[in-house]
Structures are given as structure tokens and as C-alpha cells.
Symmetry: D2
Subunit: 337 residues, 4 copies
């Protein structure tokens, strides 16, 4: 951490800052510039509260030097995290595809979709039983009934199941039925939920908040990691910007950025990132070309009758076509699918 | 709701959309333009899923006409919501000021601060016992111990207490000690929490998500209202933009916009909206001038020793000075403080 | 400037960076942390290209310490810039109000409006003769004819005139008719135009780009200042965010932030910042309360017939009412109007 | 265009709106909903000023139905625009790569780079002679001298040249030396420049403003098209968002969105979109996979000595490697490179 003193800060002010930092157990390093004095802090700055130091008299600005996350960083673990799930390696050479409807609507719908996405080559089945909806008047999901249908679909197809968990008290229930717990974009900083999911030891797909930075995503992963749970996939699902033509803006830069910063596998959600089914193929290809380790795609047998997110769902034949188109791109970047 | 058909949509496509809408119990209204056909939907469109209709063949776009919130809207309730709290009218002619530290750090700190803000004219005491922190390595609050200190401070000063609740299972505990439950910016769309707080019947301060629109804020209020709890204050606390000089960007437009759209009282948080104590006075004055019904301000006796958010906290004398400066502005807009 | 080396950067890499910086005429200062080495650069870093240094082997990050603007900063000139214009002090104790239509539409319209805003207490007349319009099919302004009508309106009322200039080759023409040259939000970084306006020596109102930072606004002012022209007003006119209820988001934080960072007068444009006439009064009051030195407000005698921006224009009686409401607020913050 | 009347709008108010619209030469269509009346406007709404209609009494909101651009739209011209440039088809089956330094720094630098990028397979040489720089203290380009060096580099290598033009009065000068005129991100809405470039008849690369929507980009293209110049490439170069880890956020969604909305060729600039050379390869691959018709990439023989944008420039060997990696991806999406 670097403390930049104001132009004209007095010797007394500088000394007080140095004393305070040293009283907290850090060594300091003074550098007298032509316009400003700079105090360097030597040691692991992460536990320090920069806001409070920033309030001392004569201080202009605090500049952090170290990244605030540790367990999630490549500095800490240079090798990729790879873990097994239902016979697939997540984070390895193979690109993992999770597909299925936004919401589980009925037993028939989810089992039919499961068969279709499996046939097209998907590796996991997605489907929401508990749905976070902006409006209290919208369909909120089938709840435990939906979870049971998902489990039936798994039995019928052999596909592992990923589904969202929305509250700490749901974790143990969802964990009985699912193979991967999904934390949605609105809950990326729901710390009670991160805690509960961390404790569960279950594989987790952590979605980036729609207005969260890459660094904040990694801090939320750090919460889960610090509870001893290391089976985490990070998911870029589009961020909120001023552009309104698409539902969100897929931050494709985040894919190689995250691959540099962290060892955790990176998944892309082209359905939420665009909000329009006719854009899903193009950005799915982009995600694979950019180095994503997985995709999570909404597929619905009858999008125009879907109870949510129909506009961004692919029909099964279109999904099968996309899978076929993705294979040569995966190959072009040295991966399989 | 208006359904805009694509240029060149066939009569068959138009008929299918009309049939589907009518099968859902709505009447329709066809308008043949020069380039496009438009289908108007007559009736309360709120329960309709526009995404799915948008997926039908030949449809270009769905345009909602009605606002998606109802109980929160001025159309539904033209008169301002005013409710009593500890002898103060919230949402009335008087502007309510809530002040105190970001986090309860000790018994002494909170009681001392309570006395100081009361003397300066504050009406409620704020202070966090459960703290949502980006980093798992930061101070997470004193928990129930902090709640007890808040209750002591209330006893000592007579100030009502507002404090944050972060998870559904904390609601009953926090409700034992607090007078107002605060929902933080990261939890604005934590629907399990909105549900629990709605059921509690306690007064609520609902903070706008830093990434949420005015409409989404009102939809979250709608969740609480739909559980029968009508004592809600909405809080503008700054949104996330590209500007990095300040921590957030106070959306001052939101104050008069919300006053037009809803009957609920509007509170502004100048501390989080700026992140810099030296900007707090100017934007507090702006908020009052723009028509806010209340302010929630961070005050700490020793900001440079604060365990969180020191940079945006006022010292008590500066807070007292601000209260004195706010009075003539309140008067200039026909309010008291 | 601080150069943060990567964890594990070699001594050779560190030495090469030091040599390069010293070869450019700067002294350096080495600080060996536990995880990273930091190289401080002593001297005025502004002419250094940080991107290129950032490309050297072993460098993780470059952290600028000094602000990149100089002539515009309070460090350079602590006292407020105050200049005279048509008998008014700009940047002084009095708040200056500029009012008039978005576009000059006819001789009658502008002269009628000029009389009305003068009577209500405005100090300058605004009106566009050259209009930047998103669509090539929209009204582009009356051009020189519009400038002549503005000059007539000045003669008739004694009000000084502010109008927009859109291209370097228009500067001399516009300068013949106007008292203040306005640079619009889309041209804040039109460097050829900033150059021409700087050379003109005319008073300038420089609008912030709708997606430009406070620092970039000050850098654009620096362009004008570096050509020797010091009569500049900076104008906050709303920035672009994800919120769509209003046309832009007024960055009220920018008002006190700019007052701290620069000595130049700060004007607020509540009309463009909201895009809705019914929000203009509330945010105008907020701007004055926050410390703005001036306001620029759209007023049109017949907004529903306006050729542009009718939605955000006040009718003259409403403008007069607003002027009356602003006076006690100006007084409450120690100003007159 | 749809005019939504307020709940409770009177018959008189509705009639006045209808009369006004009809007086402007449009037919109307009334639809009486349960809560609101809607007035549909029949005819080409583009010349109508919606702001002014929005100000009429009783009007709640105006909803445009038609897109505001025409010549740029696929509705108007369904087939892709393809044009010849120096023996290459722009917008055809082949993906065009433009490469070279941010700024022309010397005769040797640009000629050396031209040879290197040609050998690696680039089709055009890029290089700035006039540089838009945020700071007046930064290198502003060599001007006409730089243009001459570019022309020499063309002679030496046979590569066509693309370079930026910053002001209307530079157009004829730059057109003497360059094959393609580039309009930079800060000038996307510099209408005087769009006009001049439209008149020039030269091929144009129009960069999206960092703060501009897809629709606004197409409106700016419409300005050029409406002057009869149809040889336009649109360039997505990253937009400004809240994320600070990268310089900008590449809006990869914009590539397929633009391919749907317009017939013009789409180019991606991965260098400005990321600001970091080590992210350029990944996002270049993503752009090709998403359907881009071209790339414009910064290459510098010595990035750490570059006078601008060194951090985002590739060294020639890395660029040659990228070209090799792009070929199988181009093939995977049915293109060549």
C-alpha cells in the first residue's frame, strides 16, 4: 500500500501517519518527491482498512498495491483448478456445456429437454426450481417439486444437474437433489449465502453480479474458498451498461482477464449476456474462441410458451446445430467439446 | 402491451399471435401501419410474460405500456405514505435525519456517538451490527453483541435505532433490538430477505441496488408491500457509473422521479453516494433541496480509527455544523428539520 | 509515478526499468516489499508515457501520483477564477442563470423568449444556431441566420448571448455574434475545436462529455487554458448511465468535486441532465444547494411546438416561478441570484 | 410511433393530440385500453419530433416504433455491402486485417513495421499522423510529415493505408495520402467531420464512440450515407463501463447485433477494446468467431519505446503468431483470412 500525502503536508502530519502504520505492525518507507511525499507500507496490506488511514490529516490518497484476493489468485496457485464431476473434468482440456430451460415448468418439460440436450452433446442439465424474479407477480418456480423433477431427469439421462440456490436455508435441500449449486447474479454478494455454500462443500457455479467488477467476483469466490470449498466455477453472464439493444453486455475481455488472474474455471452464459436467442450462437462461438472452459445455455422445447426467459432460449434443433458449430472452434483453440 | 410485428410478417403469423394473446384472456386491437402491424393488448398486462410472446414468429418487439409495479405507484395511491416512528412522522413535512457510525465497534463508541448525534438534532441512530463486506478478511461486525449496544444507546438517548439485516434467518433477532430494518444495496434483490422483512411488519429502509434502476427499486418495494408491510422508506445511495473520482454517483434525478412515481418516503445516503466526507455536506444540501424526506449520514467520533468507511464519515462537530446549514435549505423548500 | 514490479521480477528487469526512467531525466527511488518491488519516479511525471513503461519486462502496473492537469488545478491556482461578462461577475458570489430555447427557430421566438427570461431574472440568453443532432433528418439549426436573431435579441434586451460552436472553421463567425462560445457534450474531446476556441480568447462554456470523467473534463479545459484562454466555465450536464427513466444522470457529486479540484466556475444544466421539464426545478435547486456557480436552463414559449428538446423545456411562467424558488436557496448557501 | 396517454387523460386532451398529429400529415389510430388510451401514428415517423409531442397535455410517453436510421438498415438494403480496396473485397468472405503502430513516429519505424505486418499477412497498414490525445502535453503526431511516411510505406510494401482524420479542414490533405479515412471514437458525433468525410467519397472506417449506443453508431453512419458515400466500415472498439481492469469493454454482442441491423461491414479493434497486449489474441479470436469482417490491431516493433499506446501494442512476432491462430478460427466459421 502506498500513502500519497498532500502537497504541503507538514512533517508532523507525515510522522503521525508513519507512527499509526507502524503501530499496526507494518514497516514503512518514506519517499520525498518534488511535489509530494509518499509513504510505502511493507507487509501484507490486505487486513488494513484504507478508508481510515485515508482520513488522517495531510493524506491525499491511498493506493493499494496487492490484489485483495489471495486463495483465488494465480500468484497463490499457478496451476489451473481441475475437478471431476460425473465423469467430466471441469477446468481441463474439454469444454463443458450445461443446457436446459430457465425454469423447470413440469416433469415432462424437463425430462424431454434433458434427453434432447444430452443427445446434442451437453454435459450437464440446467433448470431453475427456485427463481429470482424482478416482479412478485411473475412465476417464482416450482420449488422442491422442481428439484424432484430435475433428479428424475438426471436418473433418466445420466446428466448431472445444476440449479440455483437463493437463500442459506435452501442449501441443504437443494444439495440433496443437485450436483452443482448455482449462485445467481443478484446474489453474488449475498455473503450469508456464500458462507452457506462454502460450508456445503458442493461444487458451485458463481455468477458475476451484473454490475460487479472482475475483482469483486474474485472476492466473492474468496469467501467460498476461505470456507474450504475449492470446487468453484466462475461465470461471466453479461454486465449492465448504457447499451439497451441487448439485455446485458457480454464482457468478453473478462474471459482472458480471469484466466490470467485466477486458477478457477471460467464459464460463459451467452443467453443472459444477450437476452436474444438469435445472438446466442455468435457469442457462444466467441466465448469458446476467447478461452472459456464452459458454457451455460438456455434451451427450451417451446420458447414461445416458456414461463420465463423465452426470448433468449434456443429450441433443441438450433442448440444441436450450435454444438456442431462449436466443435471446430474448440479444436482451433486446442480444446475438445 | 404493444406487440410490434416485423416488416413483412404474414397474416398467418399475425393471427397466431392474436390467438395466443386471446387464449390468455386478453382482448386485442390490430393496427396496420405502412411498414409494420401493431397488436395492442387490452387488460392488465402485468402477469404476461413478454419474453415468450417475443419469441413467436413474426414478432419484432414487445413494448410494455403499464409500469410493472402497482402497490408502490402513485396511480394506485395518490397520497404520500406517512407513518409514525418514535414520535416522528416519516414522509411528512419534517425531514428525518438518521446518523451514526458505519459499524458498531464497541459499547462506548456507539453510546458516545448516539449522544453526539442526538445533540446535533438527529432523529434516529444508525449503526451496523451485521456488516456486508467485499472481503472475507475485513471486519464483519459484532453481530448480536452490536445489537445489544444499539439497544443500550437507544435507552440512553431515546433515539430510535436503524440497523441492517442481511439474511432471512436474522430478521427475528434484529427485530428484537431495532426500530427500523435496513436492507442494504447488495440485498435489494435478495427476494428471500424481502419476503422475510415483508412478513415481519417492521418499518423498513430499502436501499437501491448500486446497479439497479428506479423501476427495479420499486419492484423490490412491491415485494415487501405485497406481504402487507407498508412502512417502507426508499433510499437512494448512489449508483455505479464509469466515474471513479467518487465511490458512487448520487442519482439526484431519482429524488424527484421517485416522488412522482411513488407515494413512499425517499431518503438519501450522501455518505455512500460520495465515499468522501468532504463531499457529504454539499450533496446533503442538494438532497434536501431536491425534495428528499430524509437523510442517513455516517458519523464517527474518530474516523481515522474507524473499522470501516472512515473516509466517508463525518466527525460530530462537522455533523452538527451540517445540521445547522440544512435548516435554512429545508425552510427554503417549505420543510422543517 | 510509481512502477509496481511483478512478484518475482528479476534484478536485471528492475535495473532495466530504473535505467530507462533515469535516461529520461528522472531520479528513482527503490522500495523492496515482501511480495513486490516498487520503483518511485521523482520529478514531474506528466510528460512520461506510462503505457510504454508498462510494457517493459517485469512491470505489473504503473500508478500515476500527480493529477495530469496543471493549469486547471487548485494546486496551481488556489483562488477562484472570476471574470466579468456584460456587467456580471462569473464565478463570484452571484449565481448566473442562462436561459433560452434549445434552438433558435425564428426571429420572433428568440426575441420573445429573451424578453421573458430577462424579466424573470436571467443573466444570459442561450439559443442554438448550429445544432448537433443525432439524426441527419432532424432540424440542424438556422446557422448564421440564427446568429443574427440572437444578436438582435441581445440588442433588444441587453442580455449577453451564449451559443454553441461545432467546428473550428465556425469559431470566427460565431465569435462575431456571441458573447460566450459553448462547446457541446459531443465535442468535449474535439481537440481541433478546443484549440480554435482557446486561440479565440472568447469566454467559453465547456460541457462535460456525457461519458467523460471529471478528470477528462479538466484535461479538455487544460487544452483551452494552454492556449492562453482563461475565461472558462465548466458545465455538468448529466452523464450516461444504465438508468433509462431520465435522459441522463446528473452527477451532483461533480459539483463539489470540481470546486475542490479546480478554480474554474461550475455551471449545471438541469435540462439535459434530466430530459424532463417536470424534474428541472428539483434538480436546479439541488445544483444551487450543492454549490454551482451558474445554471443553464432551456425555456421555450411553446414547448409542444419546439423543433427540438421540447420535453425538457420550461414555459416562461414556470421558469419565473423557479427563479423565485431559487433565491432563498441561494441565500441559504450564502449566495445571491 | 405510439403515444401513450396518461391514466385519466380527458377526451379534449386526446383530441388535441390527434389533431396536432394529423395536422402534420399523419393518420392516427385510437386504442382505448382499460387504464390508458393509446394513439398510433401511421406513416414514416422519422421526421417527427417526439419530444415536442411528449410535452402536450395528457401525454405520458412516446414510443417510437421504427428505427431512426434508414440507409444503413438491412430493411432498406438486405444484401451485405461489399466494396473493393486495393485488390481486397471488404465485407466479403475474406476477413481483412489492418495492422500497424498507434502513431507514426519516424520514417524507419513505419516502413519497418509495414514490412513486418505485410509478411505476417496483414492487408492494410494503420498508423496515426494526427493523434487525438487526452492531454495537451502528450505527443500529438507528426502531422503531414507522418502522412508522407505512410505513403512511402505503401509504396514500399503495396499495403493500402488507413489513418485518422480529426477535423473537416484536414480531410482533403489526408485524402491525398490515405486509402481509408478513419473517424476516431471521440469524433463519432462530430457532425461537421461526418459531413466532410461523406462528401469526400473516400472509404471510411467509423469507430463507435466509447459512450455511444449501437443505434447512435448507425445514425452517424447515416450522416455519411446521406452524403452519398457508401464505402463505410463500422468499428466496435470497446465501450466505457464500470469495469476498470481493462481500458474499455469490448461489446462482442455488438458484432452479431450490427450484422442483423445493417448491411455495412463490421471491424473490431481488440487493442483499444482491452488496452492490454496480452488480452489482444484472445479477443481477436472471439471477434472472428462472432462474425467480424475485419480486425484493426496495433503492432509496434518496440512497444516499450512507443510514443503512445505501447501497453496495447503487439510485437511483430506475436502478431504473426496471432495471424496463424486466427486462420483455423476463420475457417471454422466459413471465412478465410
Amino acid at each position: 500500500m502506498i500513502i500519497v500525502m498532500k502537497m504541503g503536508a507538514s512533517q508532523g502530519e507525515i510522522q503521525k501517519v508513519v507512527q499509526r502504520v507502524e503501530s499496526l505492525g507494518f514497516r514503512t518507507h518514506l519517499s520525498q518527491g518534488e511535489e509530494r511525499t509518499i509513504i510505502g507500507i511493507i507487509g501484507d496490506e490486505r487486513p488494513l482498512d484504507r478508508d481510515s488511514l485515508g482520513r488522517m490529516r495531510g493524506v491525499e490518497r491511498i493506493v493499494p498495491i496487492l490484489r485483495p484476493f489471495k486463495l483465488a489468485s494465480r500468484d497463490f496457485q499457478p496451476a489451473d483448478t481441475v475437478f471431476q464431476l460425473n465423469g467430466h473434468s471441469i477446468g481441463g482440456q474439454k469444454i463443458i456445456v450445461m443446457a436446459g430451460p430457465c425454469a423447470v415448468e413440469s416433469r415432462e418439460q424437463i425430462i424431454e429437454t434433458a434427453h434432447m440436450v444430452k443427445e446434442a452433446g451437453a454435459h450437464l442439465l440446467r433448470g431453475g426450481a427456485f427463481k429470482p424474479r424482478t416482479s412478485p407477480y411473475s412465476f417464482q418456480g416450482l420449488g422442491e417439486e422442481g428439484l424432484r423433477y430435475l433428479a428424475e431427469a438426471r436418473e433418466a439421462t445420466g446428466l448431472a444437474v445444476i440449479t440455483e440456490v437463493m437463500a442459506p436455508e435452501q442449501v441443504s435441500l437443494v444439495a440433496q437433489y443437485a450436483d452443482v449449486l448455482q449462485i445467481g447474479t443478484r446474489n453474488m454478494q449475498n455473503y450469508a449465502l456464500l458462507h452457506a455454500v462454502g460450508e456445503s462443500g458442493m461444487p458451485v457455479l458463481l455468477k458475476r453480479g451484473m454490475m460487479s467488477t472482475i475483482e469483486e467476483l474474485l472476492m466473492s469466490a474468496e469467501y467460498i474458498l476461505s470456507h474450504g470449498n475449492r470446487r468453484i466455477m466462475l461465470c461471466e453472464r453479461g454486465i449492465r451498461t448504457f447499451e439497451t439493444y441487448t439485455r446485458n453486455t457480454l464482457d468478453i475481455n473478462a474471459v482472458p482477464s480471469l484466466k490470467e488472474l485466477t486458477h478457477l474455471p471460467i464459464v460463459v452464459d451467452p443467453s443472459h449476456a444477450t437476452g436474444k436467442w438469435h445472438l446466442v450462437s455468435a457469442v457462444s462461438k466467441a466465448a469458446v474462441a476467447a478461452g472459456a472452459d464452459g458454457l451455460i445455455i438456455e434451451v427450451h422445447p417451446n420458447p414461445e410458451l416458456a414461463m420465463s426467459d423465452g426470448a433468449q432460449s434456443l429450441r433443441p434443433p438450433r442448440f444441436a446445430e450450435l454444438m456442431a458449430q462449436l466443435r471446430p472452434i474448440a479444436q482451433a483453440v486446442g480444446r475438445t467439446l
